[in-house]
Every structure is written in structure tokens, then in C-alpha cells.
Subunit: 342 residues, 2 copies
């Protein structure tokens, strides 16, 4: 019970496989009537082209590799979805891998994608990753790489990033306007671009307002638990009156810590997060946060890749494309009523 091939179709029609191939490809060198006959026969025999064989022969596959730290994170799953939305109509499929935030798994995943001869790779790096050699090697092997969100300039190709600086700047400035002055910053490793950019935005806003931010920045505080711990320490030892957290999870931990001190958000302390996780608008008090446009990012990444594959890269191919973010002002930072969006 073998699957039908173009050879089977050719034989049952008394032509050669080449003609069948051309007919199915819509090649104009085959007569209209033959094309019809072939197409009908193909349908009749339930023919499914073997893309594997075609890829081998053509030396190019129509599969695009996608590599993310975790598929099930809200942000990443939405980027994936957006990428798929663009790539599918263009005739590409997605081979998806996750690195689980591990540098080693990221490396292996890239190798897997290369072994599968993907037409290109869209990826976001693991937190751990400091060696970008493997991603660079992909480009050496003529496999275009588009990075998004967590990017590194050591890898050639387009980089689509959120406007982390502006998001952070807007968030902190908003806190300052609300009258908060001792604003702490909880974030992740500053060797990761997203966090270093957010830190820069924070710092810029603080300095612009001539506020001191010494000893109020913590790097390893990105989960709910670490956010809770660091916030506890800061409240106790640094007289802070607001927090700008580089993530929503640590914001929740922070609010928990504030609550335990018998203080109120936002009256006693303001909190602004980053990412607008699904729960951010539902918690009490509702969390002000910086919204990232995952869809926009996914669309841009996919389009950038398609342009490269088609050989029409934009002029500034190796430059960063910045996706705007929005500050969502909710209850957790709203000491005085103001507009809902800045």
C-alpha cells in the first residue's frame, strides 16, 4: 500500500514523471489539456506531493524554524501565533523548538533546525545565553536568522525589539509625576538586552528628575518569589515608596510584600510592572504595566525573514526594528486620577 508518486501518475497516463511534475507545478511548457489530465488523475489517485523529496532536490525547504525560550509563555505564544499567521499564507510552515532558557538547549535546537535545512530561523535567546556562536554559524551556512525581543548584535540579521527604553522611561516618569520619589527597580540579568534597556530607561527618568537611585536596583528579581524577597528588603532598608519592576510576576510579589507591611498600593507605594501578563488587569489592585505588542513583533519578524528569503532585504538589514510599547496606567500606580494611557 505505497503512497502514490508522480511516477504512478505518469505511468497511468502514459507520460513521463517530468511532465507530471511540470504539470502540477503549473509550468507553461506543458499543454493545457495534459495539465488538466494530470491534475485530475492526481486528485483521483489521492496524490500528496512529497515535500521531503522536493526539498532535497531543490536544496531548500519551505519550513521555517522558530526557537523560543518557552512556548507556553503568554508573550512568546502570541509571537508564534503572529509569525504563523504571516508565514502560512506565504507557503511556509513552522518547526518550533524551545530552549527552556538553557543555553545548551538553545544550541542544540539551532543544530536541529540546521539539520532540518530550514529556510530560516526566527528566534529569541535564552536568558542564560552568552555565547552566540551557534546562531552566527547558522547565518554562515546561509540560513537567515531573525532575532526578536531577546537579541544580540553578535548575530547578523534583523533584530526586532520592543521599545524597552521608552517603556521603562514612561513607567518611571509616570510614577514620578504621581509624587513618588524613592523608586526602586527590580529586574533580571542586565546582560540580557531587554533588562539592560529597561534599566537605562529607569535610570534616565530618575536622573532627569534629579532623583537618586543608588542601592535601589536588584538584578536577580524577576519571579514572584524573588520579587517578594527583594521588595521586602528594600522596604525595610531603603525607605522606597515605589517600585518599577521589569516584569509583572515580580510586581505581584512586590505587592504582596507591601501588603505584608500593612501598606497600601497605590496610596503608600506605587507599583508598575512590565509585559501586561493576562492576570495584570485582574489582580487587586489592578497592575499598571507596560504592554508589549506581541502580534506586531511576530508580524515584523516574519516579514523580515520573508524579505531575506526572497532576496529583498531592506537596506538596514542588520539594524534593529523597534516595536512601540504602551504604558497602561491602572490602579497600582494611580495615586491621583489621570488618563488611562500616556
Amino acid at each position: 500500500m505505497k503512497r502514490t508518486t508522480i511516477i504512478d501518475i505518469a505511468q497511468s497516463l502514459g507520460v513521463t514523471p517530468s511532465t507530471v511534475s511540470r504539470a502540477l507545478a503549473g509550468n507553461l511548457r506543458v499543454r493545457e489539456s495534459t495539465r488538466k489530465r494530470v491534475q485530475e488523475k492526481a486528485l483521483e489517485m489521492g496524490y500528496q506531493p512529497n515535500i521531503v523529496a522536493a526539498s532535497l532536490r531543490r536544496g531548500k525547504s519551505d519550513t521555517v524554524g522558530m526557537l523560543v525560550p518557552r512556548i507556553n509563555r503568554h508573550f512568546f505564544s502570541h509571537v508564534i501565533s503572529a509569525v504563523e499567521e504571516v508565514l502560512n499564507p506565504a507557503g511556509f510552515n513552522l518547526l518550533i523548538c524551545q530552549s527552556h532558557e538553557r543555553a545548551e538547549q538553545e544550541k542544540q535546537a539551532i543544530q536541529v533546525l540546521l539539520k532540518n535545512r530550514v529556510a530560516g530561523i526566527i528566534m529569541s535567546h535564552a536568558m542564560e545565553t552568552v555565547d552566540f556562536e551557534m546562531a552566527r554559524r547558522a547565518t554562515d551556512e546561509r540560513v537567515p536568522v531573525v532575532q526578536f525581543d531577546r537579541v544580540n548584535a553578535a548575530v547578523p540579521g534583523p533584530r526586532i525589539i520592543n521599545d524597552n527604553f521608552s517603556g521603562a522611561y514612561m513607567a518611571v516618569k509616570h510614577l514620578i509625576r504621581g509624587g513618588y520619589t524613592r523608586i526602586a527597580h527590580l529586574t533580571g540579568s542586565l546582560s540580557v538586552n531587554v533588562y539592560s534597556e529597561r534599566f537605562k530607561g529607569y535610570k534616565y527618568a530618575m536622573e532627569e528628575a534629579s532623583l537618586d537611585c543608588g542601592e535601589m536596583v536588584f538584578e536577580g528579581a524577576i519571579t514572584r518569589e524573588t520579587g517578594y524577597e527583594k521588595a521586602l528588603w528594600l522596604i525595610k532598608n531603603r525607605k522606597v515608596d515605589a517600585f518599577f519592576c521589569a516584569g509583572d510576576h515580580s510586581s505581584v510579589g512586590t505587592m504582596q510584600a507591601i501588603h505584608e507591611f500593612g501598606l497600601k498600593v497605590p496610596d503608600d507605594m506605587g507599583v508598575v510592572g512590565f509585559a501586561n501578563e493576562p492576570f495584570a488587569g485582574f489582580i487587586t489592585p489592578q497592575l499598571s504595566t507596560v504592554e508589549q505588542n506581541a502580534y506586531d513583533m511576530g508580524h515584523r519578524a516574519a516579514n523580515a525573514l520573508i524579505r531575506i528569503i526572497n532576496g529583498n532585504p531592506l537596506p538596514g538589514i542588520d539594524q534593529e526594528e523597534v516595536v512601540p510599547v504602551r504604558l497602561l496606567v491602572r490602579e497600582s500606580s494611580m495615586r491621583t486620577p489621570i488618563n488611562n494611557t500616556i
Copy 2:
């Protein structure tokens, strides 16, 4: 600048490609010393095996197709992640497609997977789908299909489903214990197994308690908006005092409607949802809901597929495998304090 092939390695070593192939595959028919030489040379030349060619020759690929309604839904993204966790170590990769809940896209996605000669398919049907012919055809072509969550018996192969009946039964019984008697049910299309099972559980619990459930069941209410509308209508016209919603989104809409009537949850009206979406524990009042174990489901689906691919299907291969669910009792249904889990 061609990529190195086993032929290149063979030539630079003065052996044949077959030997190289066998050496790299760890075949014991090749001498230890040759194997070493080959492996070193392969490393030196930066050889990346061409899986496409290997797949063609072997007639089987190590790619598994995964088809879900939407990648970015909390439940599905977690199932995908779990599947990946099992499949990756087993040497498989995931080709992922989404149907966007459209029957036509589901059909096309299956064709894409078949054209890519995937080793198997793990899928959950779109809401729309009523014709399961294409999925069945996959199995005809010897591509094993494992269905999960939204399944249909018309397609041969394992079906991994949540214990929708028990979940619904527990939820409704819990409401009844809390003293609620006029319990309405908002759900999706009853032609989808997950909803029909939940409805059965609801009905069974109601009848067991000799409660009437006439004219209190609505099918097309699964989003926040439709949940809001139907709830509004029910409160106005049917004197209901509780809602069992087949999803968390419609639960939110329901609570909104209740709130608008000036009634309190849970004191005046109880609400229980289904799915335990990320926001469920964060909203006010916290939503009682039925938790599905996406990870468990993903693991089981992946393992079932691997067993089939390896030719060791379990005896009851065509039977359903039921994943237990948990009722999470939170504030929205807790008129009187009881245990947090039943």
C-alpha cells in the same frame, strides 16, 4: 560554499560514503579506528547531517505534526510544551499548525503535515469541524493520529481527553451543597465532545439532586461577551441563583452581569467556571473553576504516539484515555467556608 556531505568526508578520508554513513550511525560493522577518524573529520569539517535526505531515503521523518485550534491559548500552549518535552528527548521535532477554529484550515493543515511526511500527528479539532474525513485519511496513509481534548471517535487512534463529565459533576454538586438550587449552565456547541460531556455532568448532578434544569442551558455562550448577555437574560427571566459555565471567560462575563444587577458573588449567586485560566485566581472574587492538567495530557498524547510509532501500541489503542481534573474551590462559589479542594 556548499555544505559538507558524507561524500566530502568520504573523499577526504579515502573511504566510501557508505562507510561514513555507517560510522556516523554507530554501526558495529565499521572498525573502531575508522569510526574515530570519520567522527573527527566530520567535526573538523563542520558536518551537519541532512535530515531531509535521510528522511527521504528512510521513508520516515522524525518530525511529528501538531495541530491545535490556537497556539496562544493557555491550555494549548501548555499541551504543546508538554508534548515537546516528551518528543524531543525521543528524537522527534514538532511541526506546529493552528486551525484558528476553522474546519477548512484544519483540513489544509492536515494535508500540509501529510505532505511533509510527518511520523505522526497529535491534534485537537476546531470547534467548527464536523467532517473528520481528512484526519481519518491520515491514518489510512499509515500516519498515526493521536487526538486530545477535542476528539472524535470517527478518527481511529488514541484519544486523550479530560474528565469533563466528572469535572462538571463535581462543580455542580459543589454548588448544590452550597445551597444553590437554580443553577444555570452556559456552554459551547454541544456537538463538541468537551461541551457535551460537561453538559452531561451538569445534568446528572442536577437530576441526582432532583433539581430542574429546564430552560437554563445556553449553548452559544463561551466568550466573555456572550456569557454576559446570556447571564443577564437568565437572571432577569429565570430566577437563577448560580451559574456553571463551561469556560472561565464566560464566567467573567457572568460575574459582570451579576454585578450589574447589584447582586453579590457568592452570597447572592454562585459561579463556577472551567479551565482555570491564568486570570481565574486573580479576579475578584476569585473564580472557582475546574482545573485541567495540560501537562499530563500532553505527556500522555506524546507517549501514546511514540508507542504507536515504535509499533507497541497499548491494547486498547482505540480507546479513550481520561485525564483527571480537579475542582478548585475559590471565592466565587464559597458561600460557606469549606476545603479548598474536593
